[in-house]
Amino acid sequence: MLKATLRSFLAHKGRLVLSALAIVLSVAFVAGSLIFSDTVTRTFDRLFASTAADVKVGPKEALDEAVPSGNIPTVPADLVGRVAKIDGVAAAHVDAAVENITVVDDKNEPVGPTTGAPTIATNWYVTERSPVELTSGHAPRGPGEALLDADTADKKDVRIGDTLAVLAGPGSFRVEVVGIATFTTTNPGAALVFLDTPTAQKKLLGSEDAATSISVDAAPGVSDGQLKARIAAELGSAYELKTSDEEAESSAAQLGGFLDVIKWVMLGFAGIAVLVGVFLIVNTFSMLIAQRTRELGLLRALGADRRQVRRSVLTEALLLGLVSSTLGLAAGIGLSLALIQLMGALGMNLKSTEMVIGWGTPVAAYVVGVGVTFVAAYLPARRAARVSPMAALADAEKIADLGRPLRMRAVLGSVFAAAGAAALVGCALAEETGQAAPLLGLGVVLTLIATVIAGPLLVRPLIRVLGGAFPALFGPVGRMSQRNALRNPRRTGATAAALMVGLALVGGMSVASASMTKSFDQQIDRTLGADFIVQNSNFTPFPQEITDKVRATDGAGLVVRQRFTPLAVRLPDGKRVESTAAGYDPQLDDVAHVTYAEGDTAAALAPGSIAMDRGFAEEHGVRVGATLPVEFPAGRTADLKVAALTDQGGSDSLGMQGGLFFGLGTLEEYVPGGQESALYVNAAPGTDPGTLRDRLDQTLDPYPQVQVRDQADYKDLVRDQIAVMLYLVYALLGLAIIIAVLGVVNTLALSVVERTREIGLLRAIGLGRRQLRRMIRLESVVIAVFGAVLGLGLGLVWGVAIQQVLALEGMTAFAIPWGTIVAVVVGSAVVGIVAALLPALRASRMNVLAAIAHE
């Protein structure tokens, strides 16, 4: 029996290629993502472990910064003296390091990475833990001298003697590059600028008495833990102390966020590949078994029992899974190498020789590859086992599983559809995001399952409609292609399902993003009154200096500043809510239209007052006039009076729960030294906005981190932010489509083989080659469009549900991106044509006589 199985596997290897390809792809993504993240994690663990100080003394911070405020928490620099005297301390250093700073060359071009990795300015001191060493020039001495890291210097062609401008919070300053420092460890992609310590303190932190942390090295024989305890005993609980392990862990956690994104994206790809691959495998095995019914019947007639037949098919699947997983694992190693190269191009220099392939990687690869194949082949194998010995004698035409009723599918499909619909309706009716999101997820999964199960039931009605015009348009060729697509609803359903999954995702996400964009557009139209906004494209804060320059620009009228700060509010219902609040200059009404339920801007921005969203206030029992205890960073607290409630219906997003805001004066009182996040600028009376814009552009030329935008530009910016999410979805879609195309190719190729005699007959009675190709192409197109219609239909339902969840977050507009939808349908027809190329060619090349005589 095993020999028969092996023979059969080898004999059908051509037909299994496409299924194998789908498995290879999914395994490659699984393995690739695991290897890549293992490698990166190992590299950075080493880096952090080797570079972190034994103990680090930093400021205590109780509030998370969901939105960057530009505030740099510091500790007194003279702590270093106290710490140095502690027993067991070998050395203590002042750190003055600022991340996300902008450094520009003499052409006002930023020298930092453009990939989102930070530009870090810090003080220069050498210990054995320094990740860099001075390789040319000399260490910075006094203000006006700096070192640059070698990678950045190379990339931006900066040499010793060049001048750079550091655009720091307290003010920008010029430095001459006096030396180059080279990474001795892996460069994580950041750009580094080193200053001498007093300069760093003064120019970056604004005071020679401030430090961002104190790094402490232990004396020999003193453990990090012991040292930490001793420092804690000396300094009390006012500071946060971290051992090197703890520091490495939190650094890794920070980096982990970025790595997790890559990992999840890759696993998302793998998931799509697996999901779509399953349909492909089910279809392939079903077709192979249908074609081999006689052979299986013969085996049964010769005495093989059902279990043996089933096992034979499953063994074949196992072989397919093993071979594909092995290839997939190899492809995964290649993929991770490619990713490492890509990271290198982005500035993160990982060494491919240090690639980590943990034991988990091959295990995961084989579990996914073999598991998926096995599971997908199980149902076809059971069907194979049910072949009766009589099938060996019967006419092959009559035993294909055309006739099996779809009743079971109808019942199961209805059950899942009903449950999914209930979940989605529940999601739409939910009043809190917390409730709605899980229901949304559940509804999406259930409706997807329902559509997959019921897909074959929808084949007849939908393809009758979709292909309805075919007979009229393409005559008998059209009629036959439509009927061929209807011929085996299971097969058509499963083939289309592969495409459906990807398109449902796109449908849902494009509705969601179109709705978000429309909501933001409406919100911007409704609330934004300023002629221009000056801000960073990442919404990160910028130095005070820019505000001054903008104010001083000729023709600039009113300038309203916006700042953010993290805070925590204790509410009357006993809850403590951590959020981000905005501070504005008093003339807010001149640049924005805020709708108030109670109170007005003057009240909201008055000293000691705070305003919030009406819904949030109602939820927590806050009334106008109530006094709320508020915690600010650095341990400051205040009691603020609720002076106004807004009715914006949409400020409750992006970590800004409650829509809290107050006067900029209030913010400055409790959070000094912050930076502006945006400036709202109106043209002075008599100044043409166009003229002002040109002047602002000129003013801001030395500050490449900020841009001037009018309302239309601002909408584009918001749109671009949303679009990033869509690009990811489109990439996923791309992969899903590739595999779906493989599926359609697979189905058509096997159908062509199955219909050899029919094709021979058609050719004999006068069907031209071109007509035959068109027939196969049309069948392919109708299957692909069927999948697209199912997928988009499902995606629209999801989109409506997602929009309901977004509405809870204030994004109330609903939009269907018809352009995208039409493009997807047209695109799917193209996919159909592409998928049909090879099978059609093969069919048209068939020898007529051989085809007629085909058994």
Partner: protein
């Protein structure tokens, strides 16, 4: 050189002429030492308006002859005409069009497209060509074959005999110059076989069609006007006005004692064939007139 079927039949042949003609038709498979001659320089004329049967033992080349005459297969040497058109040397697309417009086919099995109804199968060649079927003719064909109440059925819903009748109807529907039937009764029981053979006879007698039927069944061959016997890739004999017994008797010559007719027999037959062909002219017109 004279031919087995006379191209100068006294009365009918004048009016009807020749439906298909082959000269020096040779079909070889393989090359070098292993060359097998399926057809060895065959000359044949198929008279228009007649029912010709092609018989011979397995491997005699009878199917190959039909395929070459129908433009389904290429020839190694020689020439083939359909009516006045030389089809040897035609390109693939022209051959396809020729089959579609001028030839009807009935195969042994798998004659119908399973996704199309009987009516759609019948008109398929004309639909492919984009021509409108002649309604009156179609009705006549359908009624002759007794398919009126089966038109909406799919092939799977028809019996084997009904399926072959639909195939006959399809072959007749476009009023082709020539209908080729390749073992049309090979898969049928005797009653259904008789029906189908009867209809092919009717097609010739009542509808004025020309039929060439390849068969190995003497009973089937007995329905024809003329039987051509093939052996070793050559036409070795012909028999006008065949009866089942006579055909069977003649077939026995092929298998009697040796797998092939003895040299002298074969030579005698070959030598006799032209003469007999000439003399058969006398008999040719009799059946119908």
């Amino acid at each position: 050189m004279s031919t087995p079927v006379a191209d100068t039949a006294p009365d009918r042949a004048e009016a009807n002429g020749v439906a298909a003609r082959a000269r020096g038709l040779t079909k070889a498979y393989g090359s070098g030492e292993t060359t097998v001659l399926a057809l060895d320089s065959v000359d044949v004329d198929i008279a228009r308006g007649r029912y010709t049967a092609v018989m011979g033992p397995s491997g005699s080349g009878k199917s190959t002859l039909m395929h070459c005459l129908a433009g389904l297969d290429t020839v190694s040497a020689g020439q083939v005409w359909l009516g006045d058109t030389e089809i040897t040397g035609l390109r693939e697309r022209e051959l396809t069009r020729l089959r579609r417009d001028r030839i009807g086919f009935v195969f042994q099995s798998f004659n119908l497209i399973p996704t199309l109804s009987a009516a759609e199968n019948i008109t398929l060649p004309m639909d492919i060509a984009g021509r409108t079927p002649d309604g009156a003719w179609l009705d006549q064909v359908i009624d002759t074959l007794g398919l009126r109440d089966r038109l909406k059925h799919r092939p799977a819903q028809l019996s084997g005999g009904q399926q072959q009748r639909v195939a006959c109807a399809r072959a007749l529907a476009s009023r082709p110059e020539l209908i080729f039937a390749d073992e049309p009764t090979g898969n049928l029981d005797s009653r259904a076989s008789q029906e189908v053979l009867g209809f092919l006879r009717k097609a010739v007698d009542e509808l004025g069609q020309t039929v060439v039927m390849v068969t190995h069944d003497p009973g089937a061959a007995a329905h024809s006007d003329l039987v051509l016997f093939l052996g070793d890739g050559r036409i070795v004999d012909e028999m006008p006005e065949p009866t089942a017994e006579a055909v069977l008797e003649r077939m026995r010559l092929f298998s009697g004692g040796s797998p092939q007719p003895s040299g002298s027999d074969a030579d005698a037959i070959r030598a006799a064939a032209p003469r007999e062909g000439g003399s058969s002219d006398v008999l040719d017109p009799l059946r119908k007139d």
